[in-house]
Amino acid sequence: MAYVIIGNAAAAISAVESIRKIDTKKPIILISDEPYHTYSRPLISYYLGDKVTEDTMRYRGENFYKKHNVTTYFGKKVVEIICDKKQVRLEDDTFISYDKLLIATGSKPFVPPMKGLTGKENIHTFLKLEDAVELKQKVKKDMRVVIVGAGLIGLKAAEGLHKLCDDITVVELADSVLSTILDRKAADIVQKHITQEGIKFIFNTTISEIEGETKVEKLTLQDGRVIPCDLLVVAIGVRPNVDIAQTAGIDVNRGIVVDDSMQTNIADIYAAGDVTESLDVASDTRRVLALWPNAYRQGEVAGCSMAGGDAIFDSAFAMNAIGFFGLPMITAGLVNVDETQAEQYEVQLVYDEEEKWIKKFIIKQNQLKGFILISKVDRAGIYTSLIKEGIDIRQLDRALTSDAFGLIAFSKELRAEKMLKGGRI
């Protein structure tokens, strides 16, 4: 019998590392529908921009699987989980038995039904290395590229394609970029910055029809506009890749539902990473937090639980460090306050639009609940720790917005405790 892990990214890899800390013997079988050594998905835009190679995209060293005694099935898709037999079935009807199973299948692109979507070339999504490899082959300097979606993936695709072609238009249904991680003011700064690089934006609309014979030729937008297009990237969003879980009878809400040891409702089946939903402490709701650091921590907890250890995945909140065309931004937790709830929150904001920086902090009952930093991102982790630890900000004797904010704002005792304890946090 073995540990079986479906998936090969952050959650899967950290589960392997975590299992091997406890159990060095029992075989681990790792199955991935992609044919690659573990790689970092967030790097696919860097791959497009030639900033990394397939080699440097590797998330772990070449001998990772060997070192951790992992048998790999690459390029194999799991099509069924047979819970009562504790088996998984692959596409080629291979059956693999598991003792403990981890579903770390991540996300899949969300492509809404669009008229004229099928049967045409040059329509892509942008999530996997394969997507990037294909895009890189297809895209030509003189192509008119349209990206649907001005979220993290859409804009990263735009950045990655920027050097490869001259004409990029981003179409977004909302009225600003990155609406999930930025507020309006921050979004405006970022959009302005990206526009200065020559990327065009069309807001408040989306595609109603894709036209063309064998290839994409033009797009009709919902507002009636028609724009030429030689290559379309659909980056509207992602959804948890829950298909096999759902058919196996595992509890799925938005994502797979797990307890704090990452176990699903079915014994010996665990889930971790973007495929799950977790409690977002910033908004106090259960939601899918498709974030790399989150996936790693969940995988770690899942691996530990599978190997019989005690670990708990307690809290999570959205956090992102990202940058576009050299403009870095870090956000965490709550970034926007609903007008109806404005009274409960205090917002501290400093910014300079010309200089393209912002610092925004959202506070509720003297606790930091979220922040947006654009450009001035240094030492952001101290703010993240304020959210995580729920520290009463009245204890701090320096403004959050101060450029000299740091551990000096903490009491001497608290600081000493943090700094002297050998990095135990």
Partner: protein
Amino acid sequence: MKRVYANETYCVGCKLCEIHCAVAHSESKDIIKAYKKEKIKPMPRIVVEDDMPISFALQCRHCEDAPCIKACITGAMQKGEQTGIVTNEENRCVGCWTCILVCPFGAIVRNEQGKKVAAKCDLCAEIEDTPACVKNCPNEALKYEEEGE
């Protein structure tokens, strides 16, 4: 493992630790050449926070359970199996700053000269027995020792 511990009671806020850290991580490792000749401006991996009379130096704590390693999207951030030292493999780092997002000490800095990479304390492991900051602290406000010594 041995770590650098700051005793803020005797930190004089001179920032010599920052300067010598920058030199130790420069190309020439020569203080005058590093500051006057090298194209890449010397960059410290230690931060002195000061608001006199309070001042203290802070660098990576080389956490047991390092959040930067877990968060790193490329796998560049690693912990030495034997040494326990958290290091960033700069040729794999893409400068996404996720480590900065999660480091509760604010001990990782951006190095944007040339290829963007996260720069951090490596305890001068490849250069010296004793980290440069400790060696050059004029008031012994930095100690390099085992926990609880």
